[in-house]
């Protein structure tokens, strides 16, 4: 059985650690102290050796992304992506609410390594508590000389500001986030140029996820070898996972990348409710292709899930037991993606809207047998044809749900098994919750 390290969550549940003194008493800011004795390139090399992968979902090596930052004498920016919102994902909120200084320390180290003097923490607007806590910690960090004109007495200068979002899934996409931070609609921008060369206000910009930056202090204090020992090959460190849906103990958990999906569901999250069997699992947020009950002996790292035909994504495990109607589950997601498409690219705006309309009519009992292939056809015109990956994110569940549960869709359309999301035989729903 996997033993669960407490690195990223070691201060969770200790209210004192919300404050500067408490954080320092628990060993905080030692990573920054060490960083300030190193050359910036040494820090980047260390993070590279620590195999830190971007934990917003893409799993791209963080140090490689840092290496793309454009050289300039003008301003450069670090933007922290705290726009958590991929359905199933709960990790960045807890990281900010329980240990804001851990994030700030990661931000300061990253900025020092990259020669950045200005950082913004973009927190989704609904996260009132996280915004309040992180702002208080930023104020404290200024007062303690951790940031400001002289970072810990050094010649390095850094300003950090907290910026709230206002409700838009698309702002979790890094160029959408930058548009939003510029005070505009959160519409993604065509890449290239990538933000590392032309980002916030047209300046070189690194956008990193909260959890990614929260890892950085620990790579400094533990060293690359000890940090890597917590993970798997090319997947450094311990990791936060959220398990939601039909399990006995839903929650967010820190554990090792080497844990399997089966262990995460049954050992960590308490398994299924009595009398229920597993039907399907979303392993990495609603956009990741779904896995069936016999596909869960897979390691929860970026590469293993990729080989299994899915993604670790934001490490958001959504568990569905045998009561679940896959048709209604997909209908719910299509409502989500059509609502959240920013409307900029035709394949996404039209594609998500049509997928939602078709799913709605199937759910209402007005579906046609041809609708199944019609939806697959639509997804074929979406994937890879848009500025950002929201279209792909909407298409992957359609493709995988139909591939793995096609008979259920056929039976639903034929009217033999018209069920609610939770498996109750019912007539079409009329009330709000989709």
């Amino acid at each position: 059985m996997t033993e669960h390290p407490k690195v990223l969550t070691k201060n969770f549940g200790d209210p004192a650690a919300l404050g500067y003194e408490g954080y320092v008493a628990n060993g905080g800011y030692l990573g920054l102290k060490k960083a300030l004795t190193m050359q910036p390139q040494e820090i980047i090399d260390l993070v590279k050796a620590g195999n830190l992968r971007g934990r917003g979902g893409a799993g791209f090596p963080a140090a490689v992304k840092w290496g793309f930052l454009g050289k300039t004498d003008g301003p450069k920016y670090l933007c922290v992506n705290a726009d958590e919102g991929e359905p199933g994902t709960v990790k960045d909120g807890p990281l900010m609410e329980n240990d804001p200084h851990q994030l700030i320390e990661g931000v300061v180290i990253a900025c020092y390594a990259l020669g950045i003097k200005s950082a913004y923490i973009y927190i989704r607007g609904e996260f009132y508590k996280a915004i309040r806590i992180v702002q208080a910690a930023v104020d404290q960090a200024y007062a303690q000389g951790v940031i400001g004109k002289s970072v810990m007495g050094s010649a390095f200068q850094l300003d950090i500001a907290v910026h709230p979002g206002a409700g838009a899934y698309i702002c979790g996409e890094e160029t959408g986030l930058l548009s939003s931070l510029e005070g505009k609609k959160g519409m993604p921008k065509l890449k290239p140029p990538f933000p590392a060369l032309k980002g916030l206000y047209g300046a070189p910009t690194i956008v990193n996820n909260v959890e990614t930056l929260a890892c950085v202090p620990h790579i400094l204090t533990l060293g690359a070898d000890a940090w890597n020992a917590l993970g798997t090959e090319k997947n450094g460190g311990s990791k936060l996972y959220c398990v939601s849906g039909h399990v006995m103990k839903p929650g967010y958990y820190e554990t090792r990348h080497s844990i399997t999906l089966r262990e995460l569901i049954y050992d960590v999250a308490g398994g299924l409710k009595p009398g229920r069997t597993l039907k399907a699992v979303v392993p990495g947020g609603s956009s990741s292709p779904i896995l069936t009950a016999d596909e869960i002996d897979v390691r929860m790292d970026f590469d293993s899930l990729g080989k299994a035909g899915s993604m670790l994504g934001s490490a958001a495990v959504i568990v569905m037991d045998d009561s679940t109607s896959m048709v209604r589950a997909l209908d719910n997601l299509m409502h989500f993606y059509s609502h959240e498409s920013c409307g900029q690219c035709t394949p996404c705006r039209e594609g998500t809207a049509w997928l939602h309309k078709i799913m709605s009519r199937i759910v209402d009992g007005r579906g046609e047998a041809a609708d199944i292939d019609r939806m697959l056809d639509i997804t074929g015109n979406m994937v890879g044809n848009t500025i950002c990956v929201l279209a792909d994110a909407a298409a992957f569940p359609v493709q995988s749900y139909i591939k793995k549960f096609r008979p259920e869709f056929e039976e639903y359309i034929q009217g033999h098994k018209r069920l609610s999301l939770l498996g109750h035989r019912e007539e079409p729903a009329t009330v709000g919750a989709h």
Partner: protein, 162 residues
């Protein structure tokens, strides 16, 4: 009288100082939040114009923002606005029953305000509280692991607090 009170203006000045002097538009979102919070949870044309004037950006740019993001409301809301998550993880945990319970308790449809002006509700997309679904959020407070009964009890308690 200007909708920008001296108190609000001081807050505006502080917010704008976080961005480069030539990037005042960045403050659109936080300034709209300040207005909405100080005016009962919704925005008027006057508020949007005041933000545009204060930042020196066209009104259309501000209106684009208020209509793009879901947290802004151009229609009046109740003093307590309830957001119920309707996305998959909460749906798997029975959020449909929560929506029905809240609707029954308040006696109004989504986005409508109760006769006494106290409450309104809407079904929203993922609130990133999936570990404690089904959830609803009222102001800055998240209520998790709801049952229809506990959701109604939350509304009772909020009603008494008025």
């Amino acid at each position: 009288m200007s909708v920008v009170t001296p108190e609000l203006r001081a807050k505006f000045d502080q917010v704008v100082s976080r961005y480069p002097a030539d990037q005042r538009q960045s403050a659109v979102i936080p300034l709209l939040h300040l207005f909405q919070e100080s005016h009962g949870g919704s925005l008027t044309t006057e508020h949007q114009q005041a933000v545009a004037d204060y930042l020196g950006v066209p009104m259309s740019k501000v209106h684009e923002v208020t209509t793009f993001y879901t947290m802004y409301s151009l229609k009046p809301r109740g003093k307590q606005h309830i957001s119920i998550c309707g996305t998959l993880p909460c749906a798997l945990c029975g959020c449909k029953d929560i929506v029905e319970a809240v609707q029954e308790k308040l006696g109004v449809a989504p986005e409508q305000v109760t006769a006494d002006g106290q409450f309104s509700f809407q079904v929203v997309e993922c609130l990133a509280q999936c570990h404690q679904g089904p959830v609803m959020q009222v102001g800055d407070t998240v209520y998790g692991n709801l049952t229809p009964e506990s959701a109604k009890a939350v509304i009772d308690a909020l009603g008494k607090k008025q």
